[in-house]
Each structure stands twice: as C-alpha cells, then as structure tokens.
C-alpha cells in the first residue's frame, strides 16, 4: 500500500457510487487499505455515506430564508431521494440544490413539480440546462489597478506574473508578499509571508503547495466565483507560491459540490500542461465529498491523504509537517488569487488598496439584501457600504453575521464597524471568510441560532468530545427552549457548555460553534422569552 | 531466546523464519508489528504466505525443506562481500574457517534453483542482515521440525556468529517456544540427558551431587528421548506414566504408537480431560488445570513467573504436584513437600542458575514494573539476566558448525506428488483439548481442512470446500479442501489441532539425528476428492486466506 493507494480511497468510493455494500471490501483489495478504514472514510463524508440520496436541498440560513423548506418538502412529496445539505456555497442563489454533484441555483417549488418525481430531471428555471452558471459580482467596472482580483475583468493571459516572479526570485517574492500585508482570506487572517518563509526555510526539500477550495462556511461563495471567473489568477498564484517555497506539486482540494468550478479549473490546468508555462510545476486536482470540516487546513490534509477528515493537533503546523508530513504551504483560493497582482505591481500597491487593513477583499453578501453576490471592496468597508453595492436592504436590518456561521450574530448598531479582521475580532466576532448574512426584523434570532447550531452539529467531525457532544447539546437545548420545555438541560447551562467548547475543542469548528447562540443571547435576549 | 520479548519492538531488522508468528505467538507478533511500525524491516522466510508477509519488506517463499540452502547462501554472500564481523569472529568464536569453506559452495544463484528464491533477494537479505546492528532472528517449529532441524539451527547460529549479532539488545537468535513451559520443563530436568539446570546426568560431578542430595542411587546413562521412547512403546518400553500430554494425538505416526500401546503392560495417565491416550490407560488420575494450582512457568525468554491458584479443582481432582507426591509416597519414597514452593526450593538448591529465585521473591514483585525473574539468577539479590552472551559467548567461545544440505526424509514422487506441511492456527492450541472446549473458538474454526493451490486442485478436479482424502505412506485422513494461494503450487498445508482428522496419522516420524524431533513440516502426500462439499458454517481458516486475499 502506497500513500497514493490510500489517497485514492475517497475517489474510488465516489466512482463506486458511494458506500454501497461490498464496496469497502473491493477497495480494500484494490488498494491494500484495510476495509474497516475504507468504511471509516466512506462513512465520514456525506456525499459518500448515503449513496441513496441524489437530491440535497441546502438548509443553510440564507437558503432557508430563501425558501429552502418549501423546496425540500416538495421534493419529499414528489418522492425524490432527497435529504438536507448543510451549505452548498450558493447562499447568493437561494435555495441552492445539489443534484448528484451539480449545484442548481434558485430552485423553486415549481422546478420540483416539473420534474414529476424524477430526480434526474430536476433543473432550475433560473439557469435552465446550463452546465455553467455564475453569481452576481461587483463592482462591474473598476479602473486598472483599483482591485486586487477584479472578478469582472475576465481571465488574463497566463505567465506574465510567473515570469516576473522568476525574475524576482523566491526571496524577493516573499518580501513583496510581506510588504503587501497579505492576510489569509480563508478565515484566520494569518499573515501569508510567515507561512511562506516557514516552508521555504525547512530542511526537508520535498514540499507541497495545497489549495484550499473547500469553501463551506455558510454565507460564503467567493472562492466559487474566483474559480469560475479568475482561474488564471488562482493557478498562476499557486505556481508563484510553489516556486517561491520550492514546491513542485500543487494539490487542489475542491469541495465535491463544485462540479462547475472543477470543470473550469481543470480546463485551464490542461492548457497549462500543454503550454508548459509554469515549467515543471504540476497540478493535481482532488474532489471533496461533503465535509465542512475539511476546510480546516489539517483536516483537508487528512482528506487529501484519503483519511477521515479529522483535524490534526497543532503544532506541528503544516509548514513543517503538512501533506504526508512534508512541509506544506496551504492557502485559500482568494488569498492565492491576490498573489499575481502583488508580484506584478508590488506589495505596496496591494497594501494601499485596503482601508483599515491591507488589500481589497471579496465580501459575500446574502440574506435580506436586494442583490446577493460577491463584491470586492477595500478591506475595512462597513456593512452599510457593502449592502449599498448589493442593492440595499430588504426590510429593516436587525442583525448580521459578518463572517459566516462561525462569526455569530451582531446587532444592527454595528453596521458602521469596519469589516476587517482586527475590529471584528475585538467585538468577539470575526471576519472569517467574509460571508456576510443580513437578517431583517422578520427573523427570530433564537430560530436563526438554532439553524446555525444544526449546521455545526451536522458538520462536527466527532473527534473531540466538547464539539461532538456540545454541538448536539446546544442545538437540542435551543430547540427545547423554543418548545417551552423547562427541564434540566435547557439554556441554563449553555454558557458553561459554550465555555467548554471554546476552551476544550481541538479546532476552530468546536471553538466557534457556540458563538451563534451566545451572541444571539447577548444581543437579542428578547428573542429568548422564558417558557415560550 | 538470547534476548527478551521487550527488545523485539526496538529491532531494526527482523528475520522471521519458519514461524507463523501472528497465529502461533500473537503477542510476539504484536511486538514485531510494533517494530515494523517504528520503521524496522521485516523479512519472512516461509513456504506459505502467512499474515506476517503482509508487513514484510520481502517474503522469501522457499521450497519446503530447502532451509539450509537459503541460510548457507546468505552466509555465502556475507563472506563473499566481506560483511562478516571479523573482530567478533576472532575474539569470540571457533570454527569459522570450515563454515567459510562450506558456504563457498552455496552461491545464491544455485540456491535460487533449490529454494525458488531469486538470488538477488538472497543477496539483499544478506546485506541488510549483516549491516543492521539491531538484527534479530526469530524461528520456531518451521526450523526445528525437520529431519535436518539441527542443521537448520546450526546454519542460523552461523549467521548470528559471523555477523556478531549477539550479546546486544534486539539482536540475537530467538526460538519462540510453542508451549507455555517448554523452557521450564527442560530447566527442571524432565529430559533424559539433563538433571535440573542443564547439568548432564552423565557428568560424574553433577550425578554424584544429586545422588547425595536425594539420598538414592540412580543410573548415570542418559535415558531415551521422547521420539525414541514412543517408537519403543510395546517393545522395550512396557510401562508408561504420562502426565498432561495426549501422546496419541501429538506424536508423529500415531498408528504405530497405538499398536505399541496395545502391546505394553501398564500405563498411567494423569490429565484434566479424557483424551485419545487415556483410552489405553490402566489408571487415570484426575488432575488440575493451571488456574487450580500454585507453581511457576518459565517462558521463552527464560523468565520465571508465578502460576497462582484461583479456584479449587472440581470433584476429587487434585493438583498435579500433589498427585506426584502421593504416587511417589505410594511407592515408598517418603517425600515430605508441603507446598509447590517447597518443591521449587529443593529444585534450585542444586541448580545454581535458578538459586536466586523463590516463590516468595516472585510474589514480592507483583507490583513492580516487571514481573518474574530471568535466569541465570544465582543469588537472592541478583536482578536476573535480560539477554545472554553480552560479554562473549556463554561458556567460552561460540562454535561454528558447518552444515551441508540434506533433502527431507521424504520428497514427493509419482505416488505422493505433493509436499504436506502441518501447523498451528490462531484459534486452537496443540491437540485442542482446551480450545475446542471453548465455544467461541470452536465456532470460528470447527473442523479441519487442507489448503491446496488452485493449480494442484484443478489437476485433481477438486473444488473449494470439497471433501478430500489426504494420504501418505503412513495413513490417510479426510478433511475439507480450501483452495488457496496461501500455499505455493506443489504444497498442501493442514492444521494439526483436530482429533477427527489427526495430522499425525499422515506425518513422518523420521527424526532429526541429534534431537530425534520428527519431521512434521515436510512429507510426501497425495490428495483425492471424495465428494462435493458446500461452504461450511463457521469454518474460518484465518484472516489471510483465500483466492481473493490481498496479493
């Protein structure tokens, strides 16, 4: 059994149609991976573990507010093999529905009825028959050099930035990245150059670059748009990063629901392979299989190695022990898409694009706004500014999540705070992946918190007890509270549980999971009436 | 064993030969697995594709009985390529030159013809073994149960001596004992040659010491060893006392033995269960099992450990040691031992190797990090000995012994076209008097079988699960056939645990010239289909079996 045999297990499971009877044993025989391990892997990933489900309706907060429950019920009524999905990164096109591995936007009850119970015929009237669709992005026109990414500009010819990078050489590239003040845009906001230096400085020469395109934070869909619209920047950024840290092999981990972005990126990799524009740098694509936790970088590495996507303990960090325990640079799609611009125009240019922090930022906005979509604004823009670009509020603003489910809820009063890493962190929230969800005054925050808790319960990997038990405990507690049940284990102990999850969990999922509840309790106590 | 079980996990190279470790010694196998997980390299030499081969770097699937060819050719490479530890050889050994001359005739290329192992693999193993400091050899009955078993052991010892892999942790030469107290039984002098503590009975000094100590006279000529004794039953041997052994089931060529028992005059069987042998007994003493008595067992690594009484024997059954005292006293011996501890004290009194050990001392160790004491342990304050031969070879210089290949006593021919080998499985133990009385084990493996390669099965029109007759010149048994690539073409294998299909009806009692150990591992056999079979319930031949087992 080689590491590649082990790594192939999820792909083999997918090709076999999921975790059907006998499949684990077959794959064990083909690969030498113990059959129980194959089973463990298959049962971990939702897209593999329940092979019968063909239609998955997103029941994330934005999709629920966009009518997901009606679509789900309609599918059930029509007798389709349907189940709920956690979040499909289609919060801007609610309700999003996954048909096999194709994400359909804006699916309506009528769409479901038109399929007459045949799941294969389910199609979205909003984008009928399309093999490719994109979301709303902005600003539509920007002057040259005003935006770091510029989703509307269309793909640029490959190779110029890479050539410039080779001119600069690894050390100066990293200097520019440092000068740019580029922070990781996957959620943590960690300074990129520290990781680059970390990998470049390892004694081990076998090194890897890994692209984290497992975009799964509810409210977030910017990486999807990046790959759909600017795959050139993503791949060129990877090539530059790999070159700078001395890696040859780049692994792309795309969430399994990204069938359309996959096709676009795959096409461009083929072009690159044919043109040889990035020299001997090789790209390897890997498909996720339905696990939010694999957006956590070490869980992603486990998944790439073909294992259950359970986060590793840190330290050691991936810069020293990453993929197959070799030094590994991991970046989010958006982060890496910033790199070609930085190399070509310099770090200072990038830094100057920002307001309170460096660069422009792709903000995703969904929920109660007129034009949900992905908007590139200076880092540090406010909610009001963002929503103005997105066509304005629907109804009266009550609350918002600035950075996906993990950021909890903030009250309307904070609409003028800069949406940046530092400010939001100071408020006990986080910018995270900048998946902004807007809630108007029709929304009950106890209900909204319950939805987020349900998400975390479904997506907890189960490795550590605080998260595994705590996510379910809190979701049950809120639901019990909503039912008016006054028994032991209602919200009385929520604060202790939240404290425990934050202190005790191994990774960010469990640490952040209580935040939707604790923030809702803090800012909207009126939504938690006693005994009702 | 020259080394301790706890050292295995730190070995960097493990040469496992003739040992189905994961089935016969699961706990040792765990230690080996740990060594491999740690980064150690394992090489398995076995005619059969046993589980251990799945974690081995190389599997040397040698032809049955060709061990000497393999081992001498490894020695050949070590000598030829200058990998021998000349300093160790000079300081610690004798007789190397003769071995060097002998193995010069055993080139890997020619060995390939005899063993079926590629010469390149032999060279690789030789280099790896010779150049890895922590390199240990592990073997069991696959080495010794041959007509050339002693030669095999010498050939292994030559490898150990010429590389100096001795007297160091995790190196050395480690026979894995098949039964719980083989070591202890030999230590105690239950052998025709040795008094307790390996003092030769024909050594005048030792003999005189015991005559004095016991206050009796007894002969100083060595007695008959078991294999000879069994052949003499009904001839020169007319009376037998048999304790805790089902000789009819476990001795080779039992048809002859049964005839002999019918011709003998008197036999006592002392056992906890009725067995095949007891059918011939004149007196049966109801004995005890280990949970019912006090005493010690000595394990493969010379560790003396306590056996403690947990429950009372049933009915009138008694502890074996009490029965023996009763019997001796019925014969007028006047023994006065009041406890097993007192027996032990008498034994160690005249055997220096153990004289620092007592029940009391062992009992005081229960809560220490390690239980038991490894002999040599000559004084009450001696900590015991973890590995032998640290400073030079025990008792003077290590003696090289050149050995030449001799074919097995019986090889396949026109009438009996297959090599038959027998062995153990994980789920049963020896004649299975205990394990087949355990519901779960019996459920997992409830009947006997042979493994036969698909090619050989096809030629004999045998389908999987068919009932077949396995015949040799000595007899035949009927078993289930399992078609399996775990055996190589031309070889069949059967477990030895099942009374209704006694492997030793067919095995060869041709003995090794030195030890008289019978050749259980190789004989010529033929297989005939009797009738079609269906997949049996609960026949679980092992985890690593079958056509579709991982290749």
């Amino acid at each position: 059994m080689t590491k590649h045999d082990a790594a192939s297990v999820p792909d083999r499971l997918r090709e076999a149609g999921g975790l059907l009877e006998g499949v684990a044993r077959d794959i064990a025989r083909e690969t030498g991976v113990p059959e129980a391990h194959v089973w463990g892997v298959g049962s971990f990933y939702h897209l593999l573990s329940r092979p019968d489900a063909k239609i998955r309706v997103c029941t994330g907060l934005s999709c629920l507010m966009g009518g997901a429950q009606g679509v789900l019920d309609a599918c059930k009524d029509a007798g389709m093999p349907v189940e709920e999905a956690s979040c499909l990164a289609g919060c801007d096109v609610p309700p999003a529905v996954l048909r096999d591995r194709r994400t359909l936007p804006h699916v309506s009850v009528e769409d479901v009825q038109r399929a007459e119970g045949d799941w294969q015929r389910l199609d979205a009237a909003a984008a009928p028959g399309t093999t490719e669709w994109t979301g709303t992005v902005g600003p539509e026109s920007a002057s040259d050099g005003q935006l770091a990414i510029d989703l509307c500009a269309g793909a640029a010819p490959l190779g110029q930035a890479f050539a410039r990078a080779v001119e600069l050489g690894p050390e100066r590239i990293i200097e520019e990245i440092a000068a740019a003040g580029l922070q990781g845009r996957g959620g943590a906001g960690f300074p990129a150059h520290i990781k680059w230096n970390g990998v470049a400085g390892q004694a081990e020469t076998e090194r890897y670059f890994v692209l984290n395109a497992d975009e799964g934070e509810p409210g977030t869909f910017k990486d999807r748009e990046c790959m759909l619209r600017r795959p050139d920047l993503v791949l060129e950024g990877m090539a530059i990063a790999a070159y700078a840290v001395g890696a040859k092999d780049c692994y792309l981990y795309l969430r399994g629901e990204f069938e359309i972005p996959w096709g676009i990126v795959e096409r461009m990799i083929k072009e690159i392979d044919e043109s040889g524009v990035f020299g001997d740098i090789r790209f390897h694509m890997h498909e996720g299989n339905g696990a939010y936790i694999c957006g956590e970088e070490t869980a992603l590495l486990e998944a790439l190695e073909g294992k259950r996507g359970m986060p590793r303990h840190k330290p050691p960090y991936p810069v020293s022990e990453g993929l197959w325990r070799k030094p590994t640079l991991i970046h989010n799609v958006e982060t890496i898409a910033c790199v070609p611009g930085i190399v070509q125009r310099g770090g200072e240019w990038f830094k100057g694009l920002g307001r309170s922090e460096a660069g422009t930022k792709l903000y995703c906005v969904s929920g109660h706004v007129a034009k949900p979509g992905t908007y590139e604004l200076p880092l540090g823009a406010t909610l009001d500014e963002l929503v103005e670009v997105a066509g304005g509020y629907i109804g009266t603003l009550k609350a918002f999540s600035p950075g996906g489910a993990s950021s909890g809820f903030l009250p309307a009063e904070m609409r003028d705070k800069p949406l940046d890493f530092k400010t939001l962190s100071g408020l006990g929230s986080m910018l995270g992946s900048a998946g902004v969800v807007v809630l108007n005054d029709t929304v009950d925050l106890r209900w909204a918190a319950a939805q987020q808790l349900r998400f975390f319960e479904a997506e907890s990997c189960g490795q550590c007890a605080p998260c595994r038990i705590g996510t379910r405990y809190l979701r049950e507690s809120v639901e019990r509270h909503a039912r008016g049940a006054s028994v032991d284990g209602t919200l009385e102990h929520a604060a202790d549980v939240a404290w425990q999850m934050n202190e005790g969990s191994i990774c960010g999922l469990g640490q952040a999971a209580p935040l939707p509840l604790t923030s809702a309790l803090k800012y909207f106590p009126e939504d938690f009436p006693e005994g009702a | 064993m020259t080394n301790s079980i706890g050292e295995i996990r730190n070995a960097d190279f493990l040469f496992v030969i003739g040992s189905n470790t994961s089935e016969a010694h699961p706990i040792i196998a765990m230690e080996m697995k740990r060594a491999v997980r740690r980064g150690g390299t394992m090489v398995v030499a076995d005619p059969r594709k046993i589980w251990m081969t799945t974690i081995a770097e190389k599997h040397l699937q040698l032809n049955p009985g060709s061990d000497v060819w393999l081992l001498n050719s490894i020695a050949h490479v070590i000598c030829e390529e200058g990998l021998a530890d000349e300093a160790f050889i000079r300081d610690n050994t004798e007789g190397f030159e003769q071995v060097r001359e002998t193995v010069a005739r055993y080139s890997p290329e020619e060995a390939e013809v005899h063993t079926g192992i590629p010469a390149e693999d032999i060279r690789w193993v030789a280099r790896k073994y010779a150049t890895t400091p922590k390199a240990g050899i592990y073997y069991t009955l696959g080495i010794t149960e041959h007509s050339h078993g002693t030669d095999n052991v010498y050939a292994l010892a030559n490898l150990v001596l010429m590389t100096g892999h001795l007297g160091k942790p995790s190196a050395g030469m480690n026979p894995l004992r098949g039964q719980n107290n083989v070591q202890g039984a030999n230590d105690a002098g239950a052998t025709p040659v040795f008094l307790p503590g390996y003092q030769r009975v024909d050594d005048p000094e030792a003999h005189a010491k015991y005559e004095k100590s016991w206050g009796v006279e007894f002969p100083s000529e060595p007695g008959l060893n078991l294999n000879v004794m069994m052949k003499e039953v009904g001839k020169s041997i007319k009376g037998l006392f048999v304790m805790g052994e089902d000789i009819v089931l476990s001795e080779p060529n039992c048809m002859e033995l049964e005839k002999g028992l019918n011709n003998s005059e008197f036999m006592i069987v002392q056992d906890a269960f009725m067995n095949e042998t007891a059918r011939f007994a004149d007196v049966i003493f109801p004995a005890s099992v280990f949970a019912e008595k006090e005493g010690v067992f000595t394990n493969s690594e010379r560790r003396v450990q306590r056996v403690r009484k947990a429950v009372e024997p049933p009915g009138q059954a008694r502890e074996d040691w009490r029965i023996l005292i009763d019997l001796a006293n019925a014969c007028g011996a006047g023994w006065t031992f009041e406890s097993a501890a007192a027996v032990y004290d008498e034994m160690v009194k005249d055997a220096d190797k153990f004289s620092g050990i007592s029940h009391a001392r062992l009992d005081a160790m229960v809560s220490l990090p390690k239980t038991g004491l490894q002999w040599p342990c000559p004084t009450p304050d001696h900590p015991g000995t973890t590995f032998l031969h640290e400073e030079g070879v025990l008792r003077g210089k290590g003696l090289f012994t050149a050995v030449e290949y001799r074919p097995p006593a019986e090889v396949p021919d026109e009438d009996y076209g297959l090599y038959l080998s027998t062995g153990r499985t994980l789920y049963h133990y020896n004649s299975a008097t205990q394990t087949r009385r355990e519901s779960g084990l019996d459920e997992k493996q409830s009947e006997a079988w042979i493994e036969i390669h698909p090619r050989d099965a096809r030629r004999r029109d045998i389908k999987n699960h068919d009932k077949v007759r396995v015949s040799t010149r000595r007899g035949s048994v009927e078993v289930r056939a399992l078609i399996s690539r775990q055996v190589q073409p031309g070889c069949i294998w059967m477990p030895l645990h099942f009374g209704e299909a006694r492997a030793n009806v067919v095995t060869n009692d041709a003995g090794d010239p030195v030890t008289d150990t019978a050749e259980y591992k190789v004989c010529a056999a033929e297989v005939h289909r009797i009738e079609e079979g269906t997949a049996p319930d609960g026949l679980y031949p092992g985890t690593f079996y079958g056509l579709d087992a991982p290749v």
Binding site: E35, A36, S43, S49, E457, C461, G462, Q463, C464, A465, I469, T471, Y473, H493, D496, E503 | S4, A24, P26, T144, G178, Q179, G184, W214, V216, G223, L224, L226, M229, V233, K238, G239, V242, M243, E245, F266, A272, V283, I284, A291, V296, E301, V307, A310, V311, P314, W321, L324, A333, L368, H382, G384, T386, E390, L394, Q434, T435, R437, T517, T543
Partner: protein, 375 residues
C-alpha cells in the same frame, strides 16, 4: 560474562526539567507532559490515553495550562519543553474538567448498574473524583443501536461509547489488523466494521484488545454479560501466567468466589496494566477468552482404574494410587527399570516437571523421562 540487568538497559539519562505546579520534574527527550507528570506522581486525568498507542488528544480530559500559552494543551500529546511551567491545579483547569465531564455525562448512562454492567467505568469514576455536575440533562437524540454481532466474545454498546478511539487505534497500532474503525461523524460517531459485518467475518483476530483498552466498558466481553456474571469490581483478581504458548503472558483470573459451591469460578480474564508485564497488557484470543475449559463438564473428577472387564471405573484415590504403584513396580520388576517411560509435560509447572523427573530417577531409577520439547 557481565550480565546486564533490565534496569541498566532501560535507564535513560534525564537531562532537562519542567516545572509542574511548582515542582521541578526531570524529563528525557521525547517525553510528554503527561509522562513527566505521571512519573512525578501528579495526577492528570485521561480517557483516550494508553501508553501503547500514539497519543490522540481526543478526549480532552488531560488539558493543562502552560504558562505563556493562550490555550490549554493536551498533556498526553504535548512534548515536555525545557523550563516550561505547567499548571494542573488552576481554576481554569478545574472548570474545564468539571464542565467537560458534565458534558460527557449528558451523553452517557449515569446509573452504574447500567453503565458498569461488565467492566469498570473510568468516566463515572472520574466524574465523581472531580465533582462534575450531573444535572445538565440528558441528550434526547439516541445514537444508532447496533445489530447484534454473532461473534462469541466481543460486545459493543454504543450508548456507553465515548468515541475515544482507544479500541480502533489499538486494533490498528498494536494488533495490526484494523478490523474496526471510527465510523460516521459528529455526534453520530461510533465504532464499526466494514458493512457492519460480524467481527467473525472481518480481519479481527479476537485478541480482545478493544475490550481491554475501553475505558467505559462499551467494548465489553460478551460471555460474562450473557451469563450475568457479577460486575468486575465484585470479582477477585488472581494474577497468573497464561497456560498457552511460550510467551508467558501475565493475566488476571477474575474469580467469582461464591460460585461452584464456594470452589470459585473464573468468569473472565483481564490483562494487567500496560507497561507492567512482558505482554505489556496484551493478550491473544486464547489467553483472554479460552477459559471455559477450566470449568468444563468433561473434566475428570474422580480417579479411574480399569476393571476385569477392561472398563474404566471410578475409584478412590487410595486404590488408584495403590494400583498405579503396583503397576509401575511390576513392570520394573519384570523387565527392569528401563522398561518404564515417564512422559512429563511442558504444559505443567516447573515444580511438577521436577517431581516427575525425580520420580523417574530417584524412585524408579531410570532416566527415561522426557516431555514434548521439540521447540
């Protein structure tokens, strides 16, 4: 020849030290905080830890504070670093233990009669020891019950499983067969075989290591359960040596002293703690589970002699011994001492083997004594 002792072999030079709750503790390279603390006698609770396994850091009970670090760290997985100040008795650590254990209890049977049907329950013991609140309610969602597995030995009770993965890691790292796995995820995480097969149909070798390492008895031994044996804490443990192969595994015979009319009955076999014996707490299928023979109905319970008709009949000890003595002496008188053969047994104790050879030599004057010693 210098005989080196185990102690010498294992001695490792300690070179550096950490500070645990104000006490300086020396450690050697590669040691974790937990190992250093254990050696110093500082108690740090653990559930998923086993010295035989790679640390998992999953149960979170061993979190301690390290001065200068924001987050608490798992002592089992964090290497001791020279000069580090470890705090295990702070208010934060105490709150952590209490709240974590309270959370565990919401997802676990709290009644000892239920939670401790067979084996001791480390979680309940720990909750008592640290005063974890027991009033946080009980989870409504039930974990999937499991089909009964027809294997004869190992029972899995999902309700008491805390998903610490000791069993699956043992199965992979120590036994090396990987028959069981963590399956599912999140709150539904459980222990499974591929396709939920019976263990009999997997690579499982029934070593029972999963039973041994389980801290809550979720992996339990089936036979004592189906026979309604007393819980382990009510049994007497007798340390002995396994009577199967030559490894000499130490095991504990668990005896119900009142059974068998006061003779006592071995109702299960457990292994001593890892690190204390040659077998390092491991046993194989035979050592752990094959004890039915001790009390088997086919045991011979009376001396037997062959009568005039050639049948074996029950008799008294006195008579049996007399017949035996006469028989052996008769042969010796008729054919000489060397017409006798004494077959001893490598299954019996050293003392018994000594007595057989002494019987042969000193009483019957023959060296015809041997046992099956081919190995």
């Amino acid at each position: 020849m210098i005989e080196r002792t185990e102690h010498d072999v294992q001695a490792r030079a300690a070179i550096k030290s950490i500070d645990i709750d104000g006490h300086s503790v020396a450690f050697s390279a590669g040691e974790t905080i937990l190992e250093a603390a254990q050696r110093a006698g500082v108690e740090i609770p653990t559930l998923c830890h086993d010295p035989r396994l790679e640390p998992a850091g999953a149960c979170r009970t061993c979190l301690v504070e390290v001065e200068g670090q924001n987050r608490m760290v798992p002592a089992c997985k964090t290497p001791a670093a020279d000069g580090a100040k470890i705090l295990t008795e702070t208010e934060r650590v105490d709150r952590h233990r209490k709240t974590l254990l309270a959370l565990y209890l919401t997802d676990h049977p709290r009644d000892r009669e239920v939670a401790e049907r067979g084996a001791p329950n480390e979680l309940l013991d720990m909750a008592d020891r640290y005063g974890a609140p027991r009033n946080w309610g009980t989870m409504e969602s039930k974990r999937d019950a499991r089909d009964t597995d027809r294997n004869p030995y190992i029972h899995f009770n999902a309700d008491t499983c805390i998903a610490c993965a000791r069993c699956t890691r043992y199965c992979e790292e120590v036994e090396g067969v990987s028959a069981i796995t963590l399956a599912g995820r999140g709150a539904e995480t459980t222990i499974a075989t591929a396709d939920s097969l019976s263990l009999l149909d997997t690579t499982c070798e029934m070593c029972g290591g999963c039973v041994d390492v389980c801290p809550t008895g979720a992996m339990g031994e089936k036979m004592p359960l189906t026979r309604s044996a007393k819980p382990e804490r009510e049994l007497k443990k007798v340390r002995s040596t396994c009577n199967f192969c030559g490894v000499g595994c130490q095991l504990d015979l668990n005896v119900d002293e009142e059974a068998e009319g006061g003779n006592g009955r071995v109702v299960k076999v457990t292994s001593p703690p890892p690190g204390t014996t040659t077998n390092d707490g491991n046993l194989c299928v035979k050592g752990r589970f094959a004890y039915d023979f001790i009390h088997h109905e086919e045991r011979i319970t009376s001396p037997l002699v062959r009568n005039e008709n050639g049948d074996l009949v029950e008799t008294s000890w006195d008579n049996a011994l007399r017949v035996a003595a006469d028989g052996l002496r008769g042969v010796a008188e008729r054919h000489g001492a060397n017409a006798l053969g004494f077959v001893s047994s490598s299954r019996c104790t050293v003392e018994e083997n000594y007595l057989v050879q002494k019987l042969s030599r000193a009483v019957f004057k023959t060296n015809n004594v041997h046992q099956c010693a081919a190995t």
